[in-house]
């Protein structure tokens, strides 16, 4: 297991480095912060002084080298906007995003396992066809459209839900979560159904029945665990998508998470904050991937052994 972990960590660390490099360079393509932060009337000397203070006058490779040197010391620089340490701002915003993603995935997985299993138990029944149609629809709806329609109908016309913001009771969660939920939920129902149909028709399920196992035992004891693998893969992918997709939802609903922070930093050419936010997101995805792999290995002995020592 430790060998397995070590191998996975090493192989996932490479993309992490690539992401860090990519963001550093791409951010600098968005434009020069000097134009944004200094008034148009600023003199050439003032502009040069500003650039020199923040290191923007250096060649990009030198800037990159300095940046990497700081990152290794866990120094992520300060925000151009507020002067606050970038790390602090990012860590403040991150829990809001994590909460949103965690609650969404929890609802999506539990709901999809129940509905998908039910649909798979009797393929082509009315329940199966209804859930297939609805989940397909859910998976196909664009989230920004759904968010805007949600605000229009429930926030503006009916006035029963807030249009944005985080102040208030549990109702502030409804629209952001519904928006984030709809696609993963639809996709997961389809995946659970598909893998459960396959698992339930496997010979070992027939064997379990030949031992006199009850239907609960057959479905939850034998089939579900085998059906978990593909579900886990897709759920992991969707969770990663959620951390990214938070950008849209947080912007529309004014949710003070890392997605909103990223958008604001880009608009403000606040490189240090942007880089810290992307780095944290990348690390989260990196950890999430390892977590998924560990889950695989725990669920299936064949995976544990597939990795040569």
């Amino acid at each position: 297991m430790t060998t397995f972990l070590r191998k996975r960590i090493v192989s996932s660390a490479i993309p992490l480095v690539v992401v860090v490099l990519g963001v550093f360079i791409l951010a600098r393509l968005t434009g020069n912060p000097v134009d944004l932060y200094l008034p148009l009337s600023a003199t050439a000397e003032q502009r040069a002084a500003f650039s020199a203070e923040h290191g923007f006058d250096q060649p990009i490779l030198v800037q990159l080298w300095d940046y990497l040197g700081q990152v290794v010391q866990l120094d992520f620089g300060e925000s151009l906007r507020t002067g606050q340490p970038a790390a602090e701002m990012v860590l403040e915003a991150f829990p809001a995003t994590l909460q949103l993603a965690a609650v969404t995935m929890l609802i999506a997985i539990v709901g999809a396992v129940l509905i998908g299993s039910l649909a798979a138990y009797r393929p082509n029944s009315l329940a199966d066809r209804t859930s297939s149609f609805l989940s397909m629809t859910a998976a196909s709806i664009p989230d920004f459209w759904f968010a805007i329609m949600g605000v229009l109908v429930f926030g503006v016309s009916l006035g029963i839900l807030p249009t944005s913001g985080v102040t208030g009771g549990p109702e502030v969660w409804v629209l952001p979560i519904a928006t984030l939920l709809i696609r993963p939920f639809g996709v997961l129902v389809q995946v659970v159904r598909g893998s459960m149909v396959a698992a339930l028709s496997a010979p070992y399920v027939k064997v379990a029945r030949s031992k006199g196992a009850s239907e609960q035992r057959v479905v939850f004891g034998h089939a579900l665990r085998n059906a978990t693998m593909p579900v886990l893969t897709v759920a992991g992918d969707l969770t990663i998508g959620l951390v990214n997709g938070a950008v849209v939802v947080e912007t529309i609903f004014g949710w003070p998470g890392i997605g909103k922070l990223m958008i604001d930093s880009i608009l403000q050419r606040d490189f240090a904050v942007l880089q810290a936010a992307v780095l944290l997101t990348a690390v989260t995805i990196f950890l999430l991937n390892i977590l998924i792999d560990v889950c695989y290995a725990l669920l299936d002995a064949r995976v544990r052994q597939a990795v040569p020592a």
Binding site: A202, P203, Y204, K206, S210, G212, H222, R302
Partner: protein
């Protein structure tokens, strides 16, 4: 004339009294997209404890379908439309799902052919072998595991205690088949059905598995129904044989008598195509043609299209299974013509 080497060694004679399994007039329909077809047509046979009956036939002849109807594991597209299956003192076809589950293991049990697929890949084998005891005897996980280890020892798995924690993919094909058999005989069923238990194995392992089944049959006093297409396996390991063709029984009786003196042209054709019996230097005889589509079974004899004896009567009238000896029968209008003189 001795048809095949080692034909039916000295076995106890058929016992009197209730058979462990009695199948009578069993018919099964398959509901397919292009209509309903009869996959098993009026099949009857019975087997006593301590004896082995072989269901012999080509792929698609209905032998596996017969076995699955007996243990109640037919796919939803298949439906039992007639007949009875008596085991454990009742007609199991009339029982509800719950009552039937109670018989699955202690009374009726089945071994499937592909042991890798038949074992759950994500559970240690010890847990799977202990499951019958958990379900039917209400044992705890720990007690069931002890039972599982005991079973593994009985079927000849080395170091059973350590191996109980292993997963199916960590065993060889022969060992997996042993595990599957162990699971099926866990509760000493009255009747053990074995659906092509050795098809996926090489010949030496095949012989070991068949010997294991034979030992277990004696030790646990089970009736064994062996589903196979392998004539040599039938000759060596079965007492009685039921030969099926296109869902119908064409001949039945003690293996020794049927193989020595077949009374149905299909049986004769099968036996003639065994290499050991053929004349040297001549092409190996084969039963020409292929079985009819189930959707297109002729009104008369099911075998007429491939039969060397077929005449007009065969096209109109389906031959009934009629006695050709004290314990045997064949479904052919002209079975006397085949009788060896």
């Amino acid at each position: 004339m001795n048809p095949l080497p080692g034909t039916a060694t000295a076995e106890p004679e058929a016992r009197t009294g209730e058979p462990a399994l009695a199948v009578e007039h069993l018919s099964v329909d398959l509901h397919t997209a292009s209509g309903t077809v009869r996959a098993v047509d009026d099949v009857s046979f019975s087997v006593h404890k301590g004896r082995t009956l072989a269901l012999l036939g080509e792929s698609g002849c209905g032998k596996s379908m017969t076995a699955l109807s007996i243990v109640g594991l037919l796919e939803p597209v298949a439906e039992v439309v007639g007949g009875s299956v008596k085991a454990g003192g009742t007609d199991v076809l009339t029982l509800g799902r719950r009552a039937r589950r109670r018989l699955a293991g202690p009374v009726l049990s089945i071994v499937f052919q592909d042991a890798l697929a038949a074992l759950n890949p994500v559970q240690p084998v010890g847990r799977q072998l202990g499951e019958p005891f958990r379900i039917h005897h209400g044992l705890s996980r720990r007690e069931a595991k002890e039972k599982a280890i005991e079973l593994m020892r009985i079927v000849g798995i080395p170091e059973p205690r350590a191996r109980a924690r292993s997963y199916p993919h960590q065993f060889s094909g022969g060992m997996r088949q042993r595990l599957l058999i162990a699971m099926a005989v866990a509760l000493a069923p009255d009747v053990l059905l074995a659906d092509e238990p050795t098809t996926a194995l090489d010949v030496t392992v095949q012989a070991q598995i068949m010997q294991l089944l034979r030992d277990l049959r004696a030790e646990r006093d089970m009736a064994v129904v062996l589903i196979t297409h392998d004539l040599a396996v039938v000759a060596e390991h079965a007492d009685d044989v039921v030969i099926m063709y296109a869902g119908n029984v064409v001949e039945t009786g003690p293996v020794r008598e049927v193989f020595a003196d077949p009374r149905h042209p299909y049986t004769r054709g099968l036996l003639d195509s065994v290499p050991e019996r053929a004349e040297k230097g001549k092409p190996l005889p084969a039963v020409g043609g292929s079985p009819p589509e189930l959707s297109n079974v002729p009104p008369g004899c099911v075998f007429q299209a491939r039969c060397p004896l077929a005449r007009e009567r065969c096209a109109d009238e389906r031959p009934r299974l009629t006695a050709t000896g004290p314990a045997r029968a064949a479904a052919c209008h002209f079975s006397e013509e085949l009788a060896s003189v």
